[in-house]
């Protein structure tokens, strides 16, 4: 029933600076028939954030594997994800102590989701996010971006008060988790006032089975390569950050197509003009 692809790519700025990819991801189908995914984006300002992000996703997925309950219970899943986040933080703290480094050197965001084929239950901290596609063909932003007050700071995992837990309300047939480099294009600030605030034409091919007709694990392997090529192509040359995408699809459902207007390209010129007015007429 589930198909998925997952990839973390080193960004251009990190390639140039010979800095490792600081993103990490992990996906696992659990014994109870559900699937768990986690993505993490190590902060650029933290020298060992690649270790932090790896420990974070690894801990969450392993914890959810050990505590896979036979019955789908949202409260139990929130509780499990909270424990998983706590353990991830503790593991990072332990590693920092072992290496005699400040915990901040391992700072990372963390977003995790558990899916049963129709509902997504998530835990989230940071500036990545989750986009869901319902069986009715509607895209939704499941998580809010957490930016710091200066717009150039991020809430890392160690900000326990910033952890949020929630679940989807629609019947979800596919969803993607993105770290901020891609997520800033998926939900660009120019569309912040739109409903949904999502660049639909950009995000659909990642998860909409009307465009992405994948059935078998081989298909998903092939898709993974194509997504990699796409993310490394000129299309995305403006994204210099590391890039992570995890997409999970219920291959038994093809979402309904919506009215054509839903897929219309935004009028970027008009949106830019409107923003320019806001940015420069107040001088």
């Amino acid at each position: 029933m589930f198909g998925y692809y997952n990839l973390s790519l080193q960004g251009r700025s990190h390639k140039a600076g010979k800095i490792p990819c600081q993103d990490a991801n992990r996906v696992m189908v659990l014994s109870n028939g559900t699937i768990v995914a986690a993505i993490a984006d190590g902060l650029g300002s933290a020298p060992y954030s690649d270790i932090g992000s790896f420990l974070a996703v690894d801990t969450v997925v392993e914890h959810m594997k050990l505590h896979a309950e036979p019955v789908w219970n949202i409260q139990e899943l929130h509780s499990g994800l909270k424990s998983a986040f706590t353990l991830a933080l503790e593991r990072i703290q332990k590693k920092a102590k072992q290496d005699k480094n400040p915990v901040a050197d391992y700072d990372t965001t963390l977003t995790a989701a558990v899916y049963d084929g129709s509902q997504v239950v998530y835990a989230h901290v940071g500036d990545g996010g989750i986009i869901t596609l319902s069986s009715k063909g509607k895209l939704r932003r499941l998580t809010e971006v957490q930016k710091g007050g200066e717009f150039n700071s991020v809430c890392p995992l160690k900000n326990v008060d910033s952890w949020v837990f929630g679940q989807s309300k629609d019947n979800v047939c596919a969803f993607s988790l993105f770290t901020d480099g891609i997520y800033d294009v998926v939900c660009p600030w120019l569309l912040a006032g739109s409903d949904p605030p999502i660049y639909i034409n950009y995000v659909r091919p990642f998860m909409d089975r009307n465009l992405l007709k994948a059935e078998t694990p081989e298909d998903f392997s092939k898709i993974k390569k194509e997504v990699k090529n796409f993310l490394e192509s000129e299309h995305n040359s403006s994204i210099t950050d590391d890039k992570t995408v995890v997409t999970i699809i219920n291959t038994e459902i093809t979402p309904k197509l919506r009215d054509e207007s839903y897929y219309a390209e935004p009028d970027w010129q008009a949106l830019q003009q409107e923003t320019r007015k806001k940015l420069y007429t107040q001088n």
Partner: protein, 233 residues
């Protein structure tokens, strides 16, 4: 095995311009006091600004997201130009006269940065840490201590980055005050009145910032001309 895979072909050739780019604001605090007439420094400064605009415009994406403002201090303090994308910037013709009220100019620059950040926030526009970029050939002639304190506070809370370039055209230029105002690691010395080299460096640096990882604290690494070096006390 199914042959059907992804379909990314419906895309425009690239993600549309500037839909998610962060802006970077830079206030130039330019000393146009009387001493800038020495050795034709003011003319070279004007030429340097022209070069900056020309150079920035060769990278349209960057020129659209770098918002520059110019504040001059010479006799009095003037906002020659409020924030505008460099793509729309016009070359000012600056004349040198009077004393060097750098303290007041710095206070004004910091206020402008605060207001700019409010505008960015209201418009929902993400931004990099703004720059204050001061170019001077002399010591401040007004009360600069409170401005220095304000700059330090803003820098400590990562709200702004202050740079100062000391122009070596006045033999009586003591940098004692400059070293009390600006962070020592961001005070530079410009030789041979090479404003063209300086502004090309600034242009490349701002472009590098606009392409950098916003979550990184590391400095952008841009090659400086040989005429621009770290200043010594």
């Amino acid at each position: 095995m199914s042959q059907q895979t992804t379909n990314f072909t419906g895309f425009s050739p690239a993600v549309p311009k500037a839909i998610s780019e962060r802006h970077v604001a830079c206030v130039f605090l330019l000393d146009i006091s009387g001493s800038m007439n020495m050795q034709g420094a003011i003319d070279k400064l004007n030429d340097g600004i022209a070069k900056f605009i020309e150079h920035m415009k060769t990278e349209p994406r960057t020129a659209d997201v770098v918002d520059a403002a110019i504040v001059t201090f010479g006799g009095d303090v003037s906002v020659v130009q409020n924030f505008i994308p460099v793509s729309e910037m016009k070359v000012p013709q600056l004349l040198a006269y009077g004393a060097s009220p750098m303290g007041e100019a710095l206070r004004m620059g910091l206020d402008m940065v605060d207001k700019r950040k409010e505008v960015y926030s209201l418009a929902g526009t993400p931004y990099y840490r703004p720059w204050i970029f001061c170019i001077t050939d002399g010591t401040p002639t007004d009360d600069w201590e409170s401005a220095a304190h304000k700059l330090k506070e803003a820098e400590n809370s990562k709200k702004v980055l202050g740079y100062c370039v000391c122009v070596e055209n006045d033999p009586e230029f003591s940098k004692k005050e400059v070293f009390q105002i600006f962070n020592h690691s961001r005070i530079l010395k410009l030789d041979n009145l090479d404003f063209s080299g300086l502004f090309e460096f600034v242009s490349n640096s701002l472009a590098a910032v606009s392409r950098s990882n916003p979550n990184s604290d590391s400095m952008v690494n841009v090659e400086a001309p040989h005429t621009l070096t770290m200043a010594m006390k």
